[in-house]
Protein backbone atom coordinates (compact mmCIF):
# COMPACT_ATOMS: atom_id res chain seq x y z
CA UNK A 1 0.00 0.00 0.00
CA UNK A 2 1.42 3.32 -0.97
CA UNK A 3 1.53 6.06 1.60
CA UNK A 4 -0.47 8.81 -0.05
CA UNK A 5 0.23 12.15 1.48
CA UNK A 6 -2.14 15.03 1.95
CA UNK A 7 0.73 17.45 1.61
CA UNK A 8 0.51 18.06 -2.15
CA UNK A 9 -3.29 18.23 -2.02
CA UNK A 10 -3.19 20.89 0.64
CA UNK A 11 -0.47 22.71 -1.24
CA UNK A 12 -2.40 22.83 -4.48
CA UNK A 13 -5.58 23.82 -2.69
CA UNK A 14 -3.80 26.73 -1.04
CA UNK A 15 -2.11 27.68 -4.26
CA UNK A 16 -5.46 27.65 -6.03
CA UNK A 17 -6.99 29.87 -3.34
CA UNK A 18 -4.10 32.29 -3.62
CA UNK A 19 -4.10 32.49 -7.41
CA UNK A 20 -7.88 32.66 -7.82
CA UNK A 21 -8.14 35.40 -5.22
CA UNK A 22 -5.30 37.26 -6.86
CA UNK A 23 -7.14 37.09 -10.15
CA UNK A 24 -10.20 38.36 -8.34
CA UNK A 25 -8.23 41.32 -7.06
CA UNK A 26 -7.11 42.15 -10.55
CA UNK A 27 -10.27 41.59 -12.52
CA UNK A 28 -13.08 42.52 -10.16
CA UNK A 29 -15.02 45.59 -11.19
CA UNK A 30 -15.96 46.43 -7.66
CA UNK A 31 -13.16 47.86 -5.60
CA UNK A 32 -14.61 46.46 -2.40
CA UNK A 33 -14.68 42.97 -3.91
CA UNK A 34 -11.07 43.43 -4.89
CA UNK A 35 -10.19 44.21 -1.31
CA UNK A 36 -12.04 41.16 -0.02
CA UNK A 37 -10.35 38.99 -2.64
CA UNK A 38 -7.06 40.37 -1.38
CA UNK A 39 -7.90 38.83 1.95
CA UNK A 40 -8.10 35.42 0.26
CA UNK A 41 -4.71 35.99 -1.36
CA UNK A 42 -3.12 36.98 1.92
CA UNK A 43 -4.61 34.07 3.81
CA UNK A 44 -3.56 31.66 1.05
CA UNK A 45 -0.03 33.00 1.16
CA UNK A 46 -0.06 32.59 4.94
CA UNK A 47 -1.05 28.97 4.42
CA UNK A 48 1.85 28.48 2.03
CA UNK A 49 4.21 29.92 4.59
CA UNK A 50 2.94 27.40 7.10
CA UNK A 51 3.71 24.63 4.64
CA UNK A 52 7.24 26.02 4.37
CA UNK A 53 7.51 25.66 8.16
CA UNK A 54 7.75 29.44 8.43
CA UNK A 55 5.11 29.68 11.13
CA UNK A 56 6.15 33.07 12.41
CA UNK A 57 6.02 34.68 8.99
CA UNK A 58 2.61 33.12 8.42
CA UNK A 59 1.11 34.47 11.60
CA UNK A 60 2.68 37.87 11.11
CA UNK A 61 1.30 37.86 7.57
CA UNK A 62 -2.20 37.54 8.98
CA UNK A 63 -1.55 39.89 11.86
CA UNK A 64 -0.05 42.69 9.80
CA UNK A 65 -1.53 42.28 6.36
CA UNK A 66 -5.03 41.10 7.18
CA UNK A 67 -5.42 42.74 10.57
CA UNK A 68 -3.66 45.94 9.64
CA UNK A 69 -3.16 46.69 5.96
CA UNK A 70 -6.34 45.13 4.65
CA UNK A 71 -8.44 46.78 7.32
CA UNK A 72 -6.89 50.12 6.48
CA UNK A 73 -7.59 49.50 2.81
CA UNK A 74 -11.23 48.72 3.54
CA UNK A 75 -11.32 51.74 5.80
CA UNK A 76 -10.00 53.95 3.04
CA UNK A 77 -12.50 52.52 0.57
CA UNK A 78 -15.33 53.16 3.02
CA UNK A 79 -14.24 56.76 3.36
CA UNK A 80 -14.02 57.44 -0.36
CA UNK A 81 -16.66 59.53 -1.96
CA UNK A 82 -19.90 58.08 -3.31
CA UNK A 83 -19.37 54.91 -1.33
CA UNK A 84 -23.12 54.47 -1.25
CA UNK A 85 -23.18 53.91 -5.01
CA UNK A 86 -23.48 50.32 -6.05
CA UNK A 87 -21.46 50.94 -9.17
CA UNK A 88 -18.20 52.04 -7.65
CA UNK A 89 -15.66 50.48 -9.91
CA UNK A 90 -12.01 50.31 -10.61
CA UNK A 91 -12.04 50.44 -14.37
CA UNK A 92 -9.01 49.05 -16.11
CA UNK A 93 -6.83 51.77 -17.52
CA UNK A 94 -4.07 51.72 -20.06
CA UNK A 95 -4.39 48.22 -21.46
CA UNK A 96 -1.52 48.50 -23.85
CA UNK A 97 1.14 49.58 -21.32
CA UNK A 98 -0.17 46.92 -19.00
CA UNK A 99 0.26 44.30 -21.69
CA UNK A 100 3.80 45.42 -22.35
CA UNK A 101 4.62 45.35 -18.64
CA UNK A 102 3.06 41.91 -18.33
CA UNK A 103 5.03 40.59 -21.27
CA UNK A 104 8.29 41.94 -19.92
CA UNK A 105 7.85 40.74 -16.35
CA UNK A 106 6.38 37.44 -17.55
CA UNK A 107 9.41 36.87 -19.73
CA UNK A 108 11.74 37.52 -16.86
CA UNK A 109 9.81 35.17 -14.61
CA UNK A 110 9.67 32.34 -17.15
CA UNK A 111 13.39 32.70 -17.68
CA UNK A 112 14.00 32.69 -13.93
CA UNK A 113 11.91 29.56 -13.49
CA UNK A 114 13.69 27.74 -16.31
CA UNK A 115 17.18 28.69 -15.29
CA UNK A 116 16.82 28.15 -11.57
CA UNK A 117 18.37 24.99 -10.24
CA UNK A 118 15.52 23.37 -8.36
CA UNK A 119 17.05 21.45 -5.50
CA UNK A 120 14.95 19.20 -3.37
CA UNK A 121 15.50 19.73 0.34
CA UNK A 122 15.08 17.06 2.92
CA UNK A 123 11.78 17.45 4.75
CA UNK A 124 12.75 18.61 8.16
CA UNK A 125 10.88 18.71 11.41
CA UNK A 126 9.29 22.14 11.79
CA UNK A 127 11.30 24.09 14.31
CA UNK A 128 10.40 27.44 15.82
CA UNK A 129 11.80 30.21 13.68
CA UNK A 130 11.29 33.19 15.97
CA UNK A 131 14.72 33.14 17.56
CA UNK A 132 16.47 32.99 14.22
CA UNK A 133 14.40 35.80 12.77
CA UNK A 134 14.89 37.98 15.80
CA UNK A 135 18.62 37.48 15.86
CA UNK A 136 18.95 38.10 12.15
CA UNK A 137 16.94 41.31 12.34
CA UNK A 138 18.82 42.79 15.25
CA UNK A 139 22.33 41.81 14.23
CA UNK A 140 23.06 41.13 10.61
CA UNK A 141 20.16 43.01 8.99
CA UNK A 142 19.71 45.87 11.42
CA UNK A 143 20.43 48.57 8.85
CA UNK A 144 17.84 47.44 6.27
CA UNK A 145 15.40 46.88 9.11
CA UNK A 146 15.76 50.45 10.35
CA UNK A 147 15.78 51.83 6.81
CA UNK A 148 12.49 50.11 6.13
CA UNK A 149 10.92 51.94 9.05
CA UNK A 150 12.24 55.22 7.65
CA UNK A 151 10.64 54.44 4.30
CA UNK A 152 7.35 53.75 6.04
CA UNK A 153 7.59 57.02 7.92
CA UNK A 154 8.23 58.89 4.68
CA UNK A 155 5.23 57.20 3.10
CA UNK A 156 3.08 58.20 6.05
CA UNK A 157 4.13 61.83 5.85
CA UNK A 158 3.61 61.78 2.11
CA UNK A 159 0.08 60.44 2.50
CA UNK A 160 -0.80 63.20 4.92
CA UNK A 161 0.64 65.84 2.62
CA UNK A 162 -1.27 64.48 -0.34
CA UNK A 163 -4.60 64.58 1.44
CA UNK A 164 -4.26 68.02 3.02
CA UNK A 165 -6.82 70.30 1.47
CA UNK A 166 -5.01 73.61 1.74
CA UNK A 167 -1.84 72.27 0.16
CA UNK A 168 -3.65 70.85 -2.81
CA UNK A 169 -5.52 74.06 -3.57
Amino acid sequence: MTEISLFPIVFYALAAVTVVSALGVAFSNNIFYSAIALMGTLLGAAGLYVMLAADFVAVVQIFVYVGGILVLTLFAINLTSRIGDVSISNRSLGRFPAFVALALSGGVMVRAIREASWNMVEVREAVPTINGIGNAFLTEYILPFELASLVLLAALVGAVVLSRKELRD
Binding site: M1, E3, I4, S5, L6, F7, F32, Y33, I36, M39, D55, F56, V59, V60, I62, F63, V66, G67, G68, L70, V71, L72, L74, F75, I77, N78, L79, I83, G84, V86, P128, I130
Partner: protein, 399 residues
Protein backbone atom coordinates in the same frame (compact mmCIF):
# COMPACT_ATOMS: atom_id res chain seq x y z
CA UNK B 1 -1.26 16.72 22.37
CA UNK B 2 -3.70 15.94 19.66
CA UNK B 3 -1.01 14.45 17.50
CA UNK B 4 0.12 12.04 20.20
CA UNK B 5 -3.47 11.09 20.89
CA UNK B 6 -4.13 10.30 17.23
CA UNK B 7 -0.85 8.44 17.03
CA UNK B 8 -1.97 6.26 19.89
CA UNK B 9 -5.31 5.70 18.19
CA UNK B 10 -3.57 4.67 15.00
CA UNK B 11 -1.44 2.29 17.01
CA UNK B 12 -4.64 0.85 18.45
CA UNK B 13 -5.75 0.25 14.88
CA UNK B 14 -8.79 2.44 15.17
CA UNK B 15 -8.31 3.97 11.75
CA UNK B 16 -7.75 0.61 10.10
CA UNK B 17 -5.45 0.97 7.18
CA UNK B 18 -6.03 4.63 6.53
CA UNK B 19 -2.99 6.71 5.65
CA UNK B 20 -1.50 8.73 8.43
CA UNK B 21 -2.35 12.16 6.98
CA UNK B 22 -5.97 11.23 6.42
CA UNK B 23 -6.16 9.96 9.96
CA UNK B 24 -4.75 13.26 11.16
CA UNK B 25 -7.27 15.15 9.04
CA UNK B 26 -10.18 13.17 10.41
CA UNK B 27 -8.83 13.56 13.91
CA UNK B 28 -8.43 17.30 13.51
CA UNK B 29 -11.88 17.76 12.05
CA UNK B 30 -13.40 15.68 14.82
CA UNK B 31 -11.52 17.62 17.47
CA UNK B 32 -12.51 20.89 15.84
CA UNK B 33 -16.16 19.91 15.72
CA UNK B 34 -15.99 18.78 19.33
CA UNK B 35 -14.46 22.05 20.42
CA UNK B 36 -16.86 24.18 18.42
CA UNK B 37 -20.07 22.39 19.26
CA UNK B 38 -19.11 21.13 22.67
CA UNK B 39 -17.52 24.23 24.00
CA UNK B 40 -17.37 27.40 21.91
CA UNK B 41 -21.03 27.70 21.02
CA UNK B 42 -22.09 26.77 24.53
CA UNK B 43 -19.68 29.23 26.07
CA UNK B 44 -21.06 32.01 23.93
CA UNK B 45 -24.62 30.96 24.61
CA UNK B 46 -24.24 30.50 28.33
CA UNK B 47 -22.41 33.80 28.53
CA UNK B 48 -25.48 35.55 27.14
CA UNK B 49 -27.58 33.90 29.80
CA UNK B 50 -25.11 34.80 32.53
CA UNK B 51 -24.96 38.36 31.27
CA UNK B 52 -28.71 38.72 31.35
CA UNK B 53 -28.92 37.37 34.85
CA UNK B 54 -26.00 39.45 36.12
CA UNK B 55 -27.54 42.55 34.59
CA UNK B 56 -30.87 41.73 36.08
CA UNK B 57 -29.36 41.51 39.55
CA UNK B 58 -27.55 44.81 39.07
CA UNK B 59 -30.66 46.50 37.73
CA UNK B 60 -32.93 45.09 40.44
CA UNK B 61 -34.84 42.93 38.02
CA UNK B 62 -35.34 39.18 37.91
CA UNK B 63 -34.02 38.30 34.49
CA UNK B 64 -34.90 35.25 32.41
CA UNK B 65 -36.07 32.48 34.74
CA UNK B 66 -38.69 30.54 32.82
CA UNK B 67 -36.98 28.25 30.31
CA UNK B 68 -35.48 25.40 32.26
CA UNK B 69 -34.51 25.59 35.91
CA UNK B 70 -33.68 29.21 36.72
CA UNK B 71 -33.90 29.96 33.02
CA UNK B 72 -30.61 28.28 32.18
CA UNK B 73 -31.95 27.11 28.83
CA UNK B 74 -32.98 30.58 27.78
CA UNK B 75 -29.96 30.93 25.50
CA UNK B 76 -30.91 27.75 23.65
CA UNK B 77 -34.44 28.99 23.19
CA UNK B 78 -33.21 32.33 21.92
CA UNK B 79 -30.73 30.70 19.59
CA UNK B 80 -33.34 28.35 18.16
CA UNK B 81 -35.75 31.22 17.74
CA UNK B 82 -33.18 33.22 15.80
CA UNK B 83 -32.27 30.21 13.66
CA UNK B 84 -35.89 29.69 12.70
CA UNK B 85 -36.55 33.31 11.94
CA UNK B 86 -36.93 34.59 8.44
CA UNK B 87 -33.83 36.32 7.22
CA UNK B 88 -34.39 39.56 5.48
CA UNK B 89 -31.68 40.75 3.13
CA UNK B 90 -32.20 44.36 2.14
CA UNK B 91 -32.98 44.80 -1.52
CA UNK B 92 -30.21 47.33 -2.01
CA UNK B 93 -27.63 45.38 -0.06
CA UNK B 94 -24.74 43.58 -1.66
CA UNK B 95 -26.16 40.13 -1.05
CA UNK B 96 -22.96 38.12 -1.56
CA UNK B 97 -20.84 40.08 0.88
CA UNK B 98 -23.81 40.49 3.18
CA UNK B 99 -23.96 36.72 3.50
CA UNK B 100 -20.19 36.34 3.73
CA UNK B 101 -19.61 38.76 6.60
CA UNK B 102 -20.95 36.63 9.49
CA UNK B 103 -18.76 33.75 8.36
CA UNK B 104 -15.59 35.82 8.37
CA UNK B 105 -16.44 37.05 11.84
CA UNK B 106 -17.19 33.57 13.11
CA UNK B 107 -14.01 32.10 11.61
CA UNK B 108 -11.96 34.79 13.27
CA UNK B 109 -13.55 33.97 16.58
CA UNK B 110 -13.60 30.17 16.51
CA UNK B 111 -10.05 29.70 15.24
CA UNK B 112 -8.80 31.58 18.27
CA UNK B 113 -9.89 28.63 20.43
CA UNK B 114 -7.33 26.37 18.77
CA UNK B 115 -4.54 27.74 20.91
CA UNK B 116 -6.64 28.31 24.02
CA UNK B 117 -5.35 26.28 26.96
CA UNK B 118 -7.80 24.89 29.50
CA UNK B 119 -5.44 22.72 31.47
CA UNK B 120 -1.94 21.35 31.20
CA UNK B 121 -3.19 18.74 28.74
CA UNK B 122 -6.45 20.16 27.46
CA UNK B 123 -5.51 22.24 24.45
CA UNK B 124 -6.18 21.61 20.78
CA UNK B 125 -2.71 22.65 19.68
CA UNK B 126 -0.08 24.19 21.86
CA UNK B 127 1.19 26.44 19.13
CA UNK B 128 4.65 27.74 19.41
CA UNK B 129 3.21 31.15 18.51
CA UNK B 130 0.08 30.80 20.61
CA UNK B 131 -0.65 34.34 21.76
CA UNK B 132 0.38 35.92 18.47
CA UNK B 133 -1.80 33.45 16.64
CA UNK B 134 -4.81 34.31 18.78
CA UNK B 135 -4.39 38.05 18.32
CA UNK B 136 -3.90 37.72 14.58
CA UNK B 137 -6.91 35.45 14.17
CA UNK B 138 -9.17 37.72 16.17
CA UNK B 139 -8.15 40.55 13.84
CA UNK B 140 -10.17 38.75 11.16
CA UNK B 141 -13.27 39.77 13.10
CA UNK B 142 -12.79 43.39 12.18
CA UNK B 143 -12.65 42.53 8.49
CA UNK B 144 -15.99 40.78 8.86
CA UNK B 145 -17.46 43.76 10.67
CA UNK B 146 -16.31 46.14 7.97
CA UNK B 147 -17.70 43.90 5.24
CA UNK B 148 -20.98 43.74 7.13
CA UNK B 149 -21.07 47.50 7.45
CA UNK B 150 -20.38 48.10 3.81
CA UNK B 151 -22.53 45.36 2.36
CA UNK B 152 -25.63 46.40 4.30
CA UNK B 153 -25.82 49.53 2.16
CA UNK B 154 -27.04 51.48 5.13
CA UNK B 155 -25.34 54.56 6.41
CA UNK B 156 -25.72 53.58 10.05
CA UNK B 157 -24.08 50.23 9.29
CA UNK B 158 -21.33 51.93 7.35
CA UNK B 159 -20.57 54.30 10.20
CA UNK B 160 -20.60 51.36 12.57
CA UNK B 161 -18.15 49.47 10.39
CA UNK B 162 -15.85 52.44 10.05
CA UNK B 163 -15.96 53.08 13.76
CA UNK B 164 -15.17 49.44 14.46
CA UNK B 165 -12.20 49.48 12.12
CA UNK B 166 -10.76 52.71 13.47
CA UNK B 167 -11.25 51.52 17.02
CA UNK B 168 -9.88 48.02 16.66
CA UNK B 169 -6.87 49.03 14.58
CA UNK B 170 -6.00 51.75 17.09
CA UNK B 171 -6.39 49.63 20.17
CA UNK B 172 -4.50 46.73 18.69
CA UNK B 173 -1.29 48.67 19.24
CA UNK B 174 -1.50 49.16 23.03
CA UNK B 175 -2.95 45.67 23.37
CA UNK B 176 -0.11 44.09 21.46
CA UNK B 177 2.51 46.16 23.26
CA UNK B 178 1.11 45.17 26.64
CA UNK B 179 0.97 41.53 25.61
CA UNK B 180 4.58 41.73 24.48
CA UNK B 181 5.47 43.07 27.90
CA UNK B 182 4.69 39.63 29.26
CA UNK B 183 6.53 38.00 26.37
CA UNK B 184 9.64 39.89 27.49
CA UNK B 185 9.47 38.05 30.80
CA UNK B 186 8.64 34.62 29.44
CA UNK B 187 10.68 34.64 26.27
CA UNK B 188 8.06 32.49 24.59
CA UNK B 189 4.80 33.03 22.75
CA UNK B 190 3.33 29.65 23.57
CA UNK B 191 0.27 29.88 25.80
CA UNK B 192 1.24 26.77 27.76
CA UNK B 193 4.79 27.94 28.43
CA UNK B 194 3.53 31.31 29.59
CA UNK B 195 1.28 29.61 32.10
CA UNK B 196 3.95 27.14 33.15
CA UNK B 197 6.24 29.99 34.13
CA UNK B 198 3.67 31.17 36.66
CA UNK B 199 2.33 29.23 39.61
CA UNK B 200 -0.81 29.11 41.66
CA UNK B 201 0.64 31.58 44.18
CA UNK B 202 -0.55 35.10 43.40
CA UNK B 203 2.90 36.67 43.63
CA UNK B 204 4.10 34.35 40.91
CA UNK B 205 1.45 35.71 38.57
CA UNK B 206 2.77 38.09 35.96
CA UNK B 207 0.35 40.83 37.00
CA UNK B 208 2.36 41.15 40.22
CA UNK B 209 5.73 40.54 38.60
CA UNK B 210 6.72 44.20 38.65
CA UNK B 211 4.98 47.61 38.65
CA UNK B 212 5.00 47.77 34.88
CA UNK B 213 3.13 44.55 34.34
CA UNK B 214 0.72 45.64 37.04
CA UNK B 215 -0.16 48.72 35.01
CA UNK B 216 0.14 46.65 31.86
CA UNK B 217 -2.66 44.41 33.06
CA UNK B 218 -5.08 47.32 33.18
CA UNK B 219 -3.88 48.67 29.85
CA UNK B 220 -4.42 45.26 28.29
CA UNK B 221 -7.82 44.99 29.89
CA UNK B 222 -8.94 48.35 28.53
CA UNK B 223 -7.47 47.74 25.10
CA UNK B 224 -9.04 44.30 24.83
CA UNK B 225 -12.39 45.71 25.93
CA UNK B 226 -12.12 48.16 23.09
CA UNK B 227 -11.15 45.43 20.65
CA UNK B 228 -14.10 43.36 21.76
CA UNK B 229 -16.45 46.33 21.27
CA UNK B 230 -17.61 46.23 24.85
CA UNK B 231 -18.92 49.13 26.89
CA UNK B 232 -17.60 51.76 27.38
CA UNK B 233 -16.17 51.18 23.92
CA UNK B 234 -19.24 49.76 22.20
CA UNK B 235 -19.35 52.54 19.64
CA UNK B 236 -19.65 50.31 16.53
CA UNK B 237 -23.09 49.21 17.60
CA UNK B 238 -24.02 52.09 19.89
CA UNK B 239 -27.74 51.46 19.95
CA UNK B 240 -28.73 54.97 20.93
CA UNK B 241 -26.69 56.58 18.17
CA UNK B 242 -26.34 54.14 15.30
CA UNK B 243 -29.54 52.10 15.77
CA UNK B 244 -27.46 48.90 15.91
CA UNK B 245 -24.34 49.83 14.00
CA UNK B 246 -23.08 47.17 11.64
CA UNK B 247 -25.80 44.68 12.57
CA UNK B 248 -28.66 47.07 11.83
CA UNK B 249 -29.79 45.18 8.73
CA UNK B 250 -29.10 41.67 9.98
CA UNK B 251 -31.73 39.30 11.20
CA UNK B 252 -32.18 35.63 11.99
CA UNK B 253 -29.22 33.27 11.91
CA UNK B 254 -26.72 35.81 10.63
CA UNK B 255 -27.59 38.13 13.47
CA UNK B 256 -27.14 35.16 15.78
CA UNK B 257 -23.62 34.64 14.46
CA UNK B 258 -22.64 38.22 15.16
CA UNK B 259 -23.87 37.98 18.69
CA UNK B 260 -22.34 34.59 19.22
CA UNK B 261 -19.01 36.17 18.38
CA UNK B 262 -19.67 39.21 20.50
CA UNK B 263 -20.40 37.20 23.61
CA UNK B 264 -17.88 34.51 22.86
CA UNK B 265 -15.25 37.19 22.56
CA UNK B 266 -15.93 38.07 26.19
CA UNK B 267 -14.55 34.69 27.09
CA UNK B 268 -11.59 35.06 24.72
CA UNK B 269 -10.69 38.41 26.26
CA UNK B 270 -10.81 37.04 29.78
CA UNK B 271 -8.93 33.89 28.84
CA UNK B 272 -6.11 35.93 27.30
CA UNK B 273 -5.91 38.03 30.45
CA UNK B 274 -5.97 34.99 32.70
CA UNK B 275 -3.27 33.29 30.69
CA UNK B 276 -0.96 36.26 30.53
CA UNK B 277 -1.43 37.83 33.92
CA UNK B 278 -3.45 35.71 36.32
CA UNK B 279 -1.66 32.40 36.42
CA UNK B 280 -3.77 30.49 33.90
CA UNK B 281 -4.75 27.01 34.99
CA UNK B 282 -2.11 26.74 37.71
CA UNK B 283 -3.48 24.90 40.75
CA UNK B 284 -1.95 23.87 44.05
CA UNK B 285 -1.01 20.19 44.17
CA UNK B 286 -3.73 18.85 46.39
CA UNK B 287 -2.64 15.23 46.87
CA UNK B 288 -5.91 13.34 46.62
CA UNK B 289 -7.32 15.18 43.62
CA UNK B 290 -4.23 15.86 41.59
CA UNK B 291 -2.78 12.37 41.91
CA UNK B 292 -4.62 11.19 38.85
CA UNK B 293 -4.14 12.93 35.51
CA UNK B 294 -7.92 13.25 35.17
CA UNK B 295 -8.34 14.91 38.54
CA UNK B 296 -5.47 17.25 37.87
CA UNK B 297 -6.78 18.30 34.49
CA UNK B 298 -10.30 18.70 35.78
CA UNK B 299 -9.14 20.95 38.58
CA UNK B 300 -6.98 22.96 36.22
CA UNK B 301 -9.79 23.36 33.71
CA UNK B 302 -12.19 24.41 36.45
CA UNK B 303 -9.66 26.94 37.71
CA UNK B 304 -9.07 28.36 34.28
CA UNK B 305 -12.73 28.60 33.32
CA UNK B 306 -13.54 29.95 36.76
CA UNK B 307 -10.94 32.69 36.53
CA UNK B 308 -12.04 33.49 33.02
CA UNK B 309 -15.65 33.77 34.04
CA UNK B 310 -14.61 36.07 36.84
CA UNK B 311 -13.25 38.34 34.10
CA UNK B 312 -16.39 37.86 32.03
CA UNK B 313 -18.58 38.93 34.93
CA UNK B 314 -16.31 41.88 35.57
CA UNK B 315 -16.79 42.99 31.97
CA UNK B 316 -20.55 42.56 32.33
CA UNK B 317 -20.47 44.64 35.48
CA UNK B 318 -18.62 47.37 33.64
CA UNK B 319 -21.09 47.23 30.80
CA UNK B 320 -24.00 47.53 33.17
CA UNK B 321 -22.50 50.53 34.92
CA UNK B 322 -20.61 52.79 32.57
CA UNK B 323 -21.86 55.02 29.81
CA UNK B 324 -20.34 54.96 26.38
CA UNK B 325 -17.56 57.32 25.40
CA UNK B 326 -17.50 59.46 22.30
CA UNK B 327 -15.38 58.82 19.23
CA UNK B 328 -12.92 61.62 19.89
CA UNK B 329 -12.57 60.52 23.51
CA UNK B 330 -12.01 56.99 22.31
CA UNK B 331 -9.14 58.05 20.08
CA UNK B 332 -7.69 60.36 22.71
CA UNK B 333 -7.73 57.60 25.29
CA UNK B 334 -5.85 55.32 22.95
CA UNK B 335 -3.29 57.58 21.35
CA UNK B 336 -2.65 60.04 24.13
CA UNK B 337 -2.82 57.84 27.19
CA UNK B 338 -2.75 54.11 26.54
CA UNK B 339 -0.06 54.15 23.87
CA UNK B 340 2.55 56.15 25.84
CA UNK B 341 1.76 54.18 28.96
CA UNK B 342 2.21 50.86 27.18
CA UNK B 343 5.48 52.06 25.62
CA UNK B 344 6.74 53.01 29.07
CA UNK B 345 5.61 49.62 30.39
CA UNK B 346 7.46 47.86 27.62
CA UNK B 347 10.70 49.71 28.24
CA UNK B 348 10.32 49.41 32.01
CA UNK B 349 9.76 45.69 31.90
CA UNK B 350 12.70 45.26 29.54
CA UNK B 351 14.95 47.02 32.05
CA UNK B 352 13.47 45.05 34.93
CA UNK B 353 14.14 41.75 33.20
CA UNK B 354 17.65 42.94 32.41
CA UNK B 355 18.33 43.72 36.06
CA UNK B 356 16.47 40.84 37.70
CA UNK B 357 16.14 38.09 35.07
CA UNK B 358 14.53 35.72 37.57
CA UNK B 359 12.17 38.20 39.13
CA UNK B 360 12.51 40.19 42.30
CA UNK B 361 10.53 38.62 45.11
CA UNK B 362 10.14 41.67 47.42
CA UNK B 363 8.69 43.69 44.56
CA UNK B 364 6.37 40.81 43.69
CA UNK B 365 5.14 40.57 47.27
CA UNK B 366 4.72 44.32 47.42
CA UNK B 367 2.73 44.39 44.19
CA UNK B 368 0.56 41.54 45.45
CA UNK B 369 -0.13 43.43 48.65
CA UNK B 370 -0.94 46.52 46.62
CA UNK B 371 -3.25 44.61 44.31
CA UNK B 372 -5.17 42.97 47.12
CA UNK B 373 -5.22 46.28 48.95
CA UNK B 374 -6.83 47.94 45.95
CA UNK B 375 -9.45 45.23 45.70
CA UNK B 376 -10.10 45.51 49.41
CA UNK B 377 -10.45 49.29 49.20
CA UNK B 378 -12.82 48.89 46.29
CA UNK B 379 -15.08 46.62 48.28
CA UNK B 380 -14.83 48.95 51.24
CA UNK B 381 -16.11 51.80 49.04
CA UNK B 382 -18.87 49.62 47.68
CA UNK B 383 -19.93 48.69 51.19
CA UNK B 384 -19.80 52.35 52.20
CA UNK B 385 -22.14 53.37 49.41
CA UNK B 386 -24.44 50.48 50.10
CA UNK B 387 -24.68 51.47 53.75
CA UNK B 388 -25.25 55.10 52.86
CA UNK B 389 -27.99 54.38 50.39
CA UNK B 390 -29.56 51.83 52.71
CA UNK B 391 -29.93 49.43 49.82
CA UNK B 392 -31.32 45.98 50.46
CA UNK B 393 -28.87 43.35 49.32
CA UNK B 394 -29.86 39.91 48.20
CA UNK B 395 -26.78 37.78 47.90
CA UNK B 396 -28.51 34.76 46.44
CA UNK B 397 -28.06 34.70 42.68
CA UNK B 398 -31.29 32.76 42.39
CA UNK B 399 -34.70 34.15 42.95
Amino acid sequence: MLQEFIDSLIADGLFGGLPRDVAYLIGMLAAGALVVFGFVLNVAGITTFVERRVWARIQSRVGPNRVGPQGVLQWLADGLKLLMKEEAIPFAADARLFKLAPFIVTIGFITAFVAMPFSSALIVADLNLGILYITSMTSLVVVGIMVAGWASNNKWSLIGGIRAAAQIVSYEIPAALSIFTVILITGTLSMQSIIQQQSWLPWDWFIFHNPFTFIGFFVTFVALLAEGNRTPFDLPEAESELVAGFVTEYSGARYLFFFLVEWGNLYVISAILVTLFLGGWQVPMIPVITDSAFGLNLLQALTFVGKSYFGVILIMWIRATLPRIRVDQLMTTCWKYLLPISFANFMGTALWVLIWPDGFLPAELLMTALGFGLVGYFFYRVAYHLRRSGAQITLSPLS
